[in-house]
Symmetry: C2
Subunit: 319 residues, 2 copies
């Protein structure tokens, strides 16, 4: 569905700011608390947390993240889920969000309603309150910028640093070919992230959003390399389907495509892997977990490990 | 200065994402704490506050808020100051911010450096940490979206609601003609907002960003009207200068222009105005404070009060 109205009468500009904000509050419903705890004052007031918080921000932009073929409810849902995946990657759960939206005046009210209803449904599902935002007009642009707050689900917040040579590398789910639909349909790994943060043997963790080939670099300890067994990488069926059309290998899609929204983590070499994997299976019988390799000291890379100089993830700036 | 590079070699796309992020961290300097408390992990970790927090979000967009004539450092400074003004309006002080930036690949590194240096200088001035963000590419668009967190400076957070008929209406500074330069140069009224929040007689407060004519509506209690004395409105010299060219009256500029970033508030009718004004003068000898009228019951509006049906503030959505 195109974000632009066919007739001026169906546009946000025809409706006007005041009525649009009233509608947005209606579309968000119970997800949007009354001011000053939500939309309608200079700032939103948030309750004290008493503990450390987490914050992350990611947008969805017309022509970049979605187009005329995308159902607007899926755009609203993905906006929140992208950010939820970042919280999941540190073992946190969401609390509240603010949304800054920039609209061409020709954007249709119908499109926007479905966008907000998709956002609201996803917010209810994951218990996020949308507490504030901003509405700005710009020419030929439709973009929504969400900032999400969260809190730790336990005593630990797991960062990207902390892995050591010898640690095993695991990844959830399957990788590659996300553009065929997974990037809309994925479930953020909040439950899995929270569980992993409780396991003291999980030393470092992040989400796979720019492709494993790129993201693994951030998890790799100084002086080490990831020794990944190409045959162990959980290549998705979508990656195989896509490869049939692209002349690339399914493995390349799995390592480079990005938008997997899975979790990759390092398990301490001293941990009992069999027990850990059994506990995982008990906790998440339907979420695949794969040990794809381990971190080794640079110079000790096995000859048959994937050479990541040949694989690159998603670049956010390209000429 | 144009945000676009003359030669491809000076563009952000030529530099690439990784180097650009490294530069951004250098430009921000001490304003950007190390991960996981700043840029570089899936989320940023914020220390516990133990008290209520405030959150607000506002962008700056090329073609909307700035153009080729704007010094990029002023754009970066204004992005933060717009958000600071929202905190000031509730009596709060800033703590941390995240910045989501969307860039056409042709944006020049030089422009961006000055933007970030302007943001960093303003962040140092007001003790804000830039703890995280996102970098996304889009065609023909340059926009920066900041979300700012803050905390109350005392036991009270002053909202827009709470004024009653009979309360006096005050405004800081002078109004109108902001487009002639004030919207870049203004100092967010953080000190004044914090002081006002300590005065129990200050019942409701907000910042003047869309024009007093529009913003006052949000401060007006149900069943009441603002009775504003036109001769009391502090019309700025800029509003008068502008009026010489626009055929509008200076008063209209003062009421409708927007971007004043002043504070308007209601003082309880039971308060001793003379004592209050004297305390203000002692606390802020250089910040003008003007009593411009009072809230009256609807139907009791004096004949010589400004008729706000004739004045409209800034509309954020126009066809």
């Amino acid at each position: 569905m195109s974000p632009f109205a066919k007739n001026k009468s169906g546009s946000v500009a025809a409706l006007g700011e005041e009525k649009l904000i009233a509608l947005i509050r209606r579309w968000l419903g119970a997800v949007s608390p009354p001011a000053p705890f939500g939309i309608g004052d200079d700032c939103a007031v948030l309750p004290a947390t008493g503990a450390r918080q987490l914050i992350t921000t990611d947008p969805v932009i017309y022509g970049r993240h979605f187009d005329d073929a995308t159902p607007p409810a899926a755009v609203g849902a993905k906006l929140l889920k992208r950010n939820l995946s970042d919280l999941a990657a540190m073992g946190a759960q969401p609390t509240a969000a603010v949304l800054s939206i920039t609209l061409d005046p020709r954007v249709s009210v119908r499109w926007l309603e479905q966008f907000y209803r998709g956002l609201a449904a996803t917010s209810r599902r994951w218990r996020v309150r949308i507490v504030g935002g901003d509405l700005t007009q710009a020419k030929n642009f439709v973009g929504a910028y969400l900032t999400l707050l969260g809190r730790a689900t336990g005593p630990r917040i797991v960062t990207r640093t902390g892995a050591r040579p010898g640690d095993a590398i695991y990844v959830t789910g399957q990788l590659g070919g996300s553009q065929l639909g997974h990037h809309w349909r994925f479930t953020p790994r909040l439950a899995e992230g929270a569980w992993l943060a409780q396991q003291s043997a999980v030393r470092a963790m992040m989400d796979v959003s720019d492709g494993l080939a790129k993201d693994l670099r951030a998890l790799t300890p100084p002086g080490a390399k990831p020794a990944i067994d190409a045959t162990a990488v959980p290549v998705s069926a979508a990656a195989r389907r896509l490869a049939a059309h692209t002349k690339k290998t399914p493995l390349r899609h799995a390592l480079c495509d990005g938008e997997d929204y899975e979790i990759v983590f390092a398990l301490a070499r001293t941990a009992d892997r069999a027990t850990f994997e059994k506990s995982w299976l008990h906790a998440f019988p339907r979420t695949r977990l794969t040990r794809i390799g381990q971190f080794v000291r640079a110079g000790k890379l096995p000859a048959d490990a994937i050479n990541f100089d040949d694989y690159h993830g998603y670049e956010h700036l390209k000429g």
